[in-house]
Amino acid sequence: MTHAVATNQTILVVGGGVSGMTAALEAAECGRQVLLVEKTPTLGGRTALLYRYFPKLCHPTCGLEINLRRVKASRNLRVLTQAEVTRITGARGDYSVALKLAPRYVNENCTACGACGAAVEATIDDPYNYNLSKMKAAYLPHAMAFPQRYVLDPSIIGTPDGEKAKAACRYGAIDLGMKVESLEIRVGAVIWATGWRPYDAAKIQPYGYDRYPNVITSLEFERLADPHGPTGGRILRPSDGREAKDIAFIQCAGSRDENHLRHCSRICCMASLKQTQYVREAYGEAGKSTVYYIDIRAIDRFEDFYSKVLADQTVRFVKSKPARIAEDAGTRDPVIHGVDTEGYHRYATRHDLVVLAVGMEPSVNGADVPHEIVADSSGFIESAASGGFFAAGCASNALDVNRSVQSATASALRAIQIVRKADRVEA
């Protein structure tokens, strides 16, 4: 599908995470022509890497399955993966967009039989496990990947491994000669759904993420709990592979902090509350969770979930932003130092594992997107109603999945309003 035809009645959606897929599908199911471009080799985005959603503790891949079915069923929606927008010119109702398509080295003949993966030896960091594990350099991103087609990592092109992969494929699906392609298309409206990235925990120096193996991020913790993850769903300590049963969750790791992210990332409180239930799921009464927080932001009916966790004997809450983490030289246990501000109680508490509830940073900061787009000082895009650009989901604000989908649905309508004006003009 590298040759996507588009007109000024087409809506371009940038980003194939839950927000982008939603915006694209809702517009397409209203009968509009939509082109969805995704930078990575698969749709699904960040939520596909979560184990469960709060507050229902249901699985993100369940909704993803439905959305993928909708994608497969829709005749109005076309998808380009490994595609990036490099330039946008024109005005609302008629933009010309330059796309850069990275080579996959695997064509549509691929049946995802896995022979190439078995054949190559080289391994690379597995970004779908936040690099907690390695994967073959010929890979299917994950079990829910769409398109269901393998990818060759550029690092093995021109190496014997590349040739091994080619030799292993019986369907002529591997094309080592693929090059970067560029593509110029015309669209009427653009929806930015470029999502977010976890704030770089290493920058939060007092917590020693860069120095202590048993200090990890909330995103990495999701992978540890996930049966698809590097530990097959067991919560193991990076330092020694021991089961971590006494786990600390530190809120506002990078958020609400003028040294890092000024804004509140909204999701982290609920995410940590949810993760305390992973600990319970894994160990029952034997598990122990401690949440260090400033304010618990369990808004609207999320409060029910908070109350449930409050009642859980295995979970303890400490109103404190920890000052620093030290490491026990012998056991490599992280020791959290700080003060419980409700009455000023000093503590130095040892845990098996510390999970930093890292903040949400927009993946595309204002500088990287076309100048027509207005971004606030945090890098969140403020959809300018006057233009033909709209932000959806976490590109627009720190949002949970539910609110991201709302936001994406709304921006789909705004985009439709632009292109229908365009087709009026055409007619």
Binding site: H59, S74, N109, A112, A143, M144, S307, F380, A398, Q417
Partner: protein, 740 residues
Amino acid sequence: MADPKYAAYVCKGCGIGERIDADQSAKIAEKEGKIALVRQHEFLCNAEGVALIRSDIEKEGVTHVAIAACSRRAKTEAFEFPGVALARANLREGVIWVRPDTAEARETTQEMADDYVRMACAELKKMKVPAGNPETGRSKRILVVGGGVSGLTAAVEARNTGYEVVLVEKQAQLGGWAAKLWKRIPEREPHAAPVDTGVQALIDAVTQDAGIRVYTNATLAQTSGAPGRFKASIAVESGSTATEEVGAIVQATGFSLYDMNRLPELGAGKSPNVMDQAGLESLARKAAPKGLPIRRPSDGGEVKRVVFVQCAGQRDDTGKHLPYCSGYCCNTSIKQAMYFKDANPAVDTVVIYTDLRVPGNGEDFYRSAQKKGVTFTKGSVTGVEASGDTCRVSFRDLILDEDASIEAADLVVLATGQVANAGVDIDNPQATDANGTKPISILNLDYRQGKDLPKLSHGFADSHFICFPYETRRTGIYAAGPVRRPMDIAQAKEDATGAVLKAIQAAENAELGRAAHPRSGDLSFPIVQLEGCTQCKRCTVECPFGAIDEDEKTYPVFNESRCRRCGTCMGACPVRVISFENYSVDSVGAQIKAVDIPDEFSEKPRILVLACENDAYPALDMAGMQRNHYSAFVRVIPVRCLGSVNTSWIIDALNGGYDGVMMMGCKHGDDYQCHFVKGSELANSRMSKISETLKTMALETERVATYEVAITDIKRLPVLIGDYAKVIEKIGLSPMKGFA
């Protein structure tokens, strides 16, 4: 349409050719499947293989295609043949990938493959290409119920998209709560000060647009019909009723404030100087436009000290007040404190909170208030006593860890929460809402299942689904704004915009006779043979979407465009008169019968697995992708929803000699994950009743088992299957073999 012509294609790619005898499978398709045109191919999904099928369709007039290759979830873009009935036998993820590649496994693996070919052929014979719902929509107008910010936004956005709007507001004026505010919370940088509500501009846009018909002082006397042909009878002030035909509905009926008079302990009713946030807004609206300071209601005295009490009657665990958090109130108190600080920095303003909840850029707004000298105190208020013209606010200071009090507060503002105006609780029409008032119906739907939208928790008409916030249980009717979930103006506008898109989509789908989410675009629809119907009402009661009404003789009346194609009605029908063209009691029944059942001495049990196509079936696929092996004795049939499973399938299977039946559906209960809401729950209760029947058949109850399965259960499923196979081994093969 021409006579059906059947063709079957057996793919040998991805190792199928090596692992099973494709010739044999092809022969089976021909002989047992009675398929005229059977072909084998080395690599069916490539361009040349697909071209072969295409040319058979064009040149040979093939109308029905069975593909024995990979899972129905794979290679969908290759195997897409518009206007052709398609059945797929899953020989890859479903057979060779879940079986060990060993000599001893070869025989059972071959049997597995052969059965799936038989099943696909049998299904194909029972399939028709759906023609689409004949009862298509006529109207694409959008009815908006409620004239507050959410409703006004919905109306304007619908118009901007080119759709006509009918707006019904029960009050005399438009604007709702927002029109009662002095200013609103900023949503853009610098988040430094309250901003204009912008509601007047919205009102003007609506009243000046000829494409929007506005009814004020009006309510819905009745709403009938379905997407594309809703009929709304609107009772207007004069007493007369107007009738409007609309394609879809946005319900933006907003909220009522939690009644502060239920909070005497916080001084409500004890002094006019104790008020809720709305009370303070009206004081501000009186004073601020004239540039006057807000004065004390009791005596018009100067206001020197204001205390804001957060979570007043909210986040309550005593059961007396609202258990939830309304989310917007922290920002609102910050905004209101700024009313005072911006006018006169000398006024003391204290916000007493337990958790300050200002997500996102609210943090900047919080910071701005601190800069202006608003004092924030983490504490829990224990009481407010009025004495003369001031109040004493007693609280526990949680930071200083001591009991404290603020004397001589001129105003005390209680941050009370939002109570949804969501109409009557259809499950319990007599129930009163959180304010103790008995709600009256808003939509007055003439639906068999009740007058209003089903409610979720705490009386809000929300969606239960995290990924699908607009999923409604009443197709074509979408809740927006605080009726759905507590929210502020900015969120309500966003929400209303999204809801309008869904409404437009529903109207468009109705016109084309297509299903709405989650089976978007599905052209099949339930067909009922009324002559066989026994008026048992199960379908009308059990339909999760209230799609089926009853006529005066209590026969079911299907409203296809309300229907979501889950098949729950089909599963419910004891006399099997409900079916879809491409999914019916027969199409599944035939697959069950097609399986070759070895005799009781073979030591080869057969276990029927009915798997939800959205979670259990993908999980089985992914188990295969991970090469997690499982028993060769199972035969899996994907179903739209466990709710669509008709008990007759189970009975027929057992009569036919199957040794056991595993039903794999989604989690049910409070946190249900069934995308048709009640499907898995209904299946579960139906199966609980089946044990009687089993006894009469002299069969062990273990022969039918239901499981809650999640899409992530790629490791668990093979284990479940293995364990169940052991159970069957233990109780022995079915005595029913050979009787069928």
